[in-house]
């Protein structure tokens, strides 16, 4: 295979790999492609309250089960003085607080952060019992209620074709205040809620059903009681109904806490117990959400990456990851334009210094140091020093100049110039040395051309490197470096003319 073909294949592979990893991170792990994306994170707090009798206390709260469209980012429990653990029983997780002795009002907290993701709310099939326990309605005083229930069931059955439509009809009838049967049933079961009654009627109709407890996620809600949904089994699968409207499906921002199962809260050794919920929404940068949700799963791509480093090192890497971008700018300008610079990648180092110092400050400091350095260097050249000693002398001079610039500008109140320390001193010293040689051999004009070319490239590189998209991509998708590598390889294969050559060879065209 010719080297050229190898380059293209390798570059294509690298680019594919980089793009693939990026796509995976974006679509699967939720890393935002564009900077400044925010996601809503809901903080839900469950507060368990009860009055302890003075003896041993044990409180068990059912914890929300994994829900497909809600990603739990983190959870905290707080309960001073209580022993705490999480137990797993009957396909449910329960938080259990216990204490040898407690009296008076007690509050226990459980808090979790969730983030809504697109997708279906519930997984099918669900391993829940489809057994129906027929309600006992044989007692004498229940005669009227029983008739009313069966009348409701019959009329709903007549107006429906299957279990689903039957349930909708039934719920509509139960919500209709003009319906005599419904009023009779609610008159008998005075303290029952709509879902309680619906469950009773469904059982009478021989349809497996249970309740779903949960919360509607709305911002800034406090002291919420859990809301109920109804889930019925239509013979093949479980279908969720919103009891008031009677429409199937989980409402959009409903957070499911408990599905089927028993009680939400059990308290032993206490009275007047209850759970209330409060919900707050926060807008969090999308990247932080992705980081949180992947840190729990120990995603290898994230776990073995720069993100696992301490924050301080990460910010250093933020800068380092920009270097390849600067290198690409240099490659493009040299291969496609043909700009002459002093030192191939010196402009990239300058551009990094400019990032720290701001452009105009950086440019003026660079030009100032270059001019002063050249001036000193011309004097040094008359002293007949050995080259290494002379360059070291220039380095010392540069450092002294930097110090002087910092101090003088600080006294003058120009604090920006303090960032002068970000300039790479050794590179500056070498640049001064080379420039002075160029001055001696090719004249000051060539010095201006080369210094100007370097500065132009440095400014362009700075401009690209400070672009907020570039910054975002290099840091959040370091795998894009593979794509960049592929691009550089392909550019390295470019054999066409440079822009400068179109002018240089102008005379050949007549």
């Amino acid at each position: 295979m010719s080297p050229r073909a190898q380059v293209y294949i390798l570059a294509a592979l690298l680019a594919l790999m980089g793009a693939g990893l990026t796509a995976y991170k974006h679509f699967e792990l939720g890393f935002p492609l564009l900077p400044g994306e925010y996601r809503t994170v809901w903080t839900i707090e469950a507060k368990v309250r009860f009055n302890a009798d003075g003896g041993p206390v044990k409180a068990a709260l059912t914890l929300p089960r994994a829900q497909r469209n809600m990603e739990v980012l983190g959870e905290t429990f707080s309960s001073s003085g209580y022993g705490f653990n999480i137990i797993h029983e009957d396909d449910e997780y329960r938080a259990v607080w216990a204490r040898r002795a407690a009296s008076g009002a007690q509050s226990l907290f459980y808090q979790l952060d969730v983030h809504q993701t697109p997708g279906a709310a519930l997984e099918q099939p669900l391993d829940l019992s489809t057994e129906v326990t027929k309600p006992f309605l044989g007692a004498r005083e229940q005669e009227a209620v029983r008739l009313a229930i069966y009348s409701l069931v019959d009329s709903a059955r007549e107006r429906s074709s299957d279990t689903k439509t039957f349930t909708t009809e039934l719920l509509t009838a139960l919500g209709d205040k003009r319906n005599q049967d419904r009023n009779l049933i609610f008159g008998f079961y005075k303290d029952r809620s709509l879902v309680d009654v619906a469950l009773l009627v469904l059982a009478a109709a021989d349809i497996p059903a249970h309740r779903i407890r949960g919360l509607y996620l709305e911002d800034d809600r406090r002291r919420l009681d859990p809301e109920d949904l109804l889930e019925i089994y239509d013979g093949k699968r479980w279908v969720v109904f919103e009891p008031v409207s009677g429409s199937p499906g989980v409402p959009k921002n409903f957070f499911i806490w408990q599905r089927g199962g028993k009680s939400l809260l059990d308290v032993e050794g206490g009275r007047d117990s209850g759970v209330t919920f409060s919900v707050i929404s926060n807008d969090v940068p999308a990247r932080d959400v992705a980081m949180l949700s992947t840190s729990q799963e120990k995603e290898a791509l994230v776990d073995f990456s720069i993100y696992s480093l301490p924050i301080e090192q990460q910010s250093i890497f933020k800068l380092i990851l920009l270097v390849p971008v600067g290198a690409l700018v240099v490659v493009l300008l040299r291969v496609f334009v043909g700009l002459r610079t002093s030192g191939t990648f010196m402009p990239v180092l300058l551009a990094i210094a400019f990032i720290e110092t701001q452009l105009l400050t950086g440019l003026s400091i660079f030009v100032l140091i270059l001019i002063l350095g050249l001036w000193v260097r011309f004097y040094l050249s008359r002293l007949n020093l050995l080259l290494v000693a002379r360059i070291a002398a220039v380095v010392v001079t540069v450092v002294i100049l930097m110090g002087a610039i910092s101090v003088v500008s600080y006294k003058l109140g120009i604090e920006q110039a303090l960032t002068v320390t970000f300039f790479p001193m050794i590179i500056l010293a070498w640049t001064i040395e080379r420039m002075s040689i160029v001055w001696e051999e090719d004249g000051p004009y060539e010095v201006v051309v080369q210094a100007g070319g370097s500065l132009l490239v440095a400014v362009l590189a700075w401009w690209v490197m400070t672009n907020r998209f570039i910054e975002h991509w290099t840091f959040n998708f370091p795998e894009l470096l593979l794509v960049l590598l592929g691009v550089i390889m392909i550019v390295g294969n470019y054999t066409g003319f440079r822009l400068g050559e179109l002018a240089r060879f102008r005379q050949l065209v007549r």
Partner: protein, 328 residues
């Protein structure tokens, strides 16, 4: 101060250049230098001391080497070498682009004279030697070696075509076949230097006859030398056949497929190889007013049998095939 050449006049279409067979820098690097010049053969041309040794082996005439300092010499050692000399050249062995070359053409008591007439003291020369050693002129700043060469006794034939400096002839040799040649004449504007971008005149030389066919200064075609007013149409390089043969034999000496040979004419010894270059520039196209690519592609299309010809056959082929008339 004059505007840089790229600001005057416009751009031309890359397709036109391609049609004319002009070779660009990127194409030269990828298609010719990377493909035909093996890395391991670079030291022969990148180090002028190596070039000189190899040339001796292949009986290629070169300027006489007076002394070479492999390590940093003591002051007395330098003085011992240069004190008896009247004319000499100090060069870095690995210098690039003509940097670091100090030419001494005479003496003024204890001082030395540059071609421009400026005086140079012995101390200046010692410092220059020290600078070369420290790697000031070599690529990447690596420590370098110093060579002191006899000044070539230039053939006076070009005296009227060159101002202050020394004209040399650049021949591009591709796979052993000379493909293009030019003469570089320094001018007042170029300050005695033979670099075209500094204002030296590039004179395209017809490979078959050694006559000038085209002359360019700063990208503009000229007919006469700007300082001496000599018309280039009368210019003929003497011993042209020998010169082209010398260039062609550098292929065997260096093993490099794409090669630029810099040759000077000595009054008595004839053509001498000054240096060889593994990355010859593209200005030769401007001097000749023709693109290189067409000629290179003609050689590339040859079969193995044609490529195995000896120096004499190759030179004859080139002189015949690349004659100026056949191209124009």
């Amino acid at each position: 101060m004059q505007l840089p050449s790229f600001l005057r006049g416009g751009l031309v279409s890359p397709f036109t250049l391609r049609k004319l067979g002009v070779l660009g820098m990127n194409a030269r690097n990828v298609h010719y230098i990377a493909r035909y010049n093996d890395r391991d053969k670079y030291p022969v041309v990148d180090d002028k001391l190596n070039t000189k040794r190899a040339a001796k082996r292949y009986r290629i005439p070169v300027p006489e080497l007076i002394a070479a300092f492999e390590t940093q010499p003591s002051r007395s050692r330098v003085m011992q070498v240069i004190t008896p000399l009247q004319k000499f050249v100090i060069k870095p062995a690995r210098g690039s682009g003509g940097k670091g070359i100090l030419v001494i053409t005479g003496r003024d008591g204890d001082d030395y004279l540059k071609p421009s007439g400026n005086k140079v003291t012995a101390l200046d020369i010692q410092r220059h030697v020290s600078n070369i050693h420290s790697g000031l002129y070599s690529l990447g700043g690596k420590p370098d070696r110093v060579m002191i060469e006899a000044l070539v006794d230039f053939d006076p034939v070009f005296d009227r075509y060159s101002f202050e400096g020394v004209p040399d002839i650049r021949v591009i040799v591709f796979r052993g076949f000379p493909v293009m040649a030019m003469l570089r004449c320094s001018t007042h504007a170029s300050d005695g230097k033979a670099n075209l971008h500094q204002g030296a005149v590039g004179v395209g030389i017809d490979l078959s006859t050694g006559k000038s066919c085209h002359a360019v200064q700063r990208g503009v075609r000229i007919e006469k030398h700007p300082d001496t007013e000599m018309p280039f149409s009368d210019l003929v390089v003497p011993d042209w056949g020998d010169l082209v043969r010398l260039a062609a034999s550098c292929y065997e000496m260096t093993g490099l497929g794409y090669l630029g040979c810099d040759i000077v004419l000595d009054r008595k010894r004839g053509p001498l190889l000054l240096e060889a270059n593994a990355r010859p520039g593209l200005a030769i196209q401007i001097a000749n007013g023709i693109g290189l690519r067409t000629r290179l592609e003609h050689i590339e299309a040859m079969d193995l049998e044609q490529l195995e010809k000896n120096v004499e056959e190759r030179v004859n082929y080139s002189m015949d095939y690349f004659a100026a008339e056949s191209i124009a």
